[in-house]
């Protein structure tokens, strides 16, 4: 039996990658920021140090999302 093509999509689905890659870091950054807010509410005098640590945590988490952006350019 011959195969008949009813519909065809051309192009690259690498762009979808960012959408998928954003899920994990999104949750991660949410947790980091939320926990920092909790901690700052408990101990307002520690706010400065907590913020610094929060930015370090966010920087590591955020990188995963950006790797998702980069793959689109690498495998184009």
């Amino acid at each position: 039996m011959d195969t008949t093509t009813l519909a065809e999509i051309s192009g690259n689905i690498a762009t979808v990658g960012y959408g998928l890659a954003a899920i994990g870091p999104g949750i991660g950054i949410g947790i980091v920021a939320g926990k920092t807010v909790e901690a700052m509410a408990r101990q307002p005098e520690m706010a400065g140090r907590l913020q610094t640590t929060m930015f370090i945590g966010i920087a590591f988490t955020e990188l995963l999302g950006f790797i998702g952006v980069a793959t689109f350019f690498i495998f184009q």
Binding site: R49, L63, Q76
Partner: protein, 249 residues
């Protein structure tokens, strides 16, 4: 994508010193930053003038928020020049992405972020070797104490990958991609505005108002990101130096 790769040369075409638009933007950004600091600090007085106090405020931010807080008094003083030049160099090149007619962050192509990442890499390894001696530094980073011996089979390769390969690359990639993505978002917003206003017809062109507004909002977001990325890059460099010079983890 063409914007990130083969740009037409402006000066010195064909030589290794070929200058295209982005390199020109970088040079101007660095020159402007040096000029501002020179103007602010050329006649430093005990009672600061307005320009001097702004320059001192910026410097103090790096000293208090990054160097002293992460590295402590002794190492903070020693590594402040490196951290401050990283911070101000990065922020100057990031901000060019928002200035009209430049419209392109100097850090939005791989050259500068990679150079800075490798610079930070050399700095923290040098700091570790200088403060602890090569043997102790590599032992501390590759064979951290307080772990059962068989775990080293897994831990040492992971630590090696993390410290000596992932760190400089992640510093470079984070800066590069933040700036590149910001640029793409702005391009997207303003290109859509152009399309809706001049090409689309009827009620569709009303979307242009929304995209124009989004363009302005993203410009403000980019301002935040530009400052934040300079801060994060410097902060992480400080953290890496701190981990390298620490006696024990």
């Amino acid at each position: 994508m063409g914007e990130f790769l083969g740009l037409p040369a402006l000066f010195f075409e064909g030589t290794p010193f070929e200058i295209n638009r982005i390199i020109l933007v970088r040079l101007i950004a660095v020159a402007v930053m040096l000029l501002l600091f020179w103007l602010g600090l050329r006649k430093a007085r005990r009672v600061p003038t307005r320009g001097q106090s702004i320059a001192e405020m910026a410097m103090e931010f790096v000293k208090v928020q990054i160097a002293d807080q992460i590295l402590g008094e002794k190492f903070g003083r020693r590594y402040l020049p490196i951290l401050a030049s990283l911070f101000f160099g990065i922020i100057a090149m990031n901000l060019t992405g928002l200035i009209p007619f430049f419209n392109m962050a100097g850090t939005a192509i791989i050259g500068v972020p990679l150079t800075l990442g490798l610079f930070a890499y050399v700095v923290f390894i040098h700091a570790g070797i200088k403060e602890l001696g090569a043997r102790k530094f590599f032992k501390n980073s590759l064979l951290p104490s307080g772990v059962p011996v068989p775990i080293y089979l897994i831990l040492t390769p992971v630590e090696f990958l993390n410290i000596f390969i992932v760190r400089p690359l992640s510093l470079a990639l984070r800066l590069l991609l933040n700036m590149m993505v910001g640029h793409l978002l702005l391009v997207l917003c303003f290109a859509a505005t152009h399309f809706f206003f001049f090409t689309a017809d009827g009620w569709l062109s009303l979307f242009g108002v929304g995209t124009l507004l989004a363009g302005f909002i993203f410009t403000l977001v980019e301002l935040l990101v530009a400052a934040l990325q300079a801060y994060v890059f410097t902060l992480l460099t400080a953290v890496y130096i701190q981990q390298a010079v620490a006696e024990e983890h």
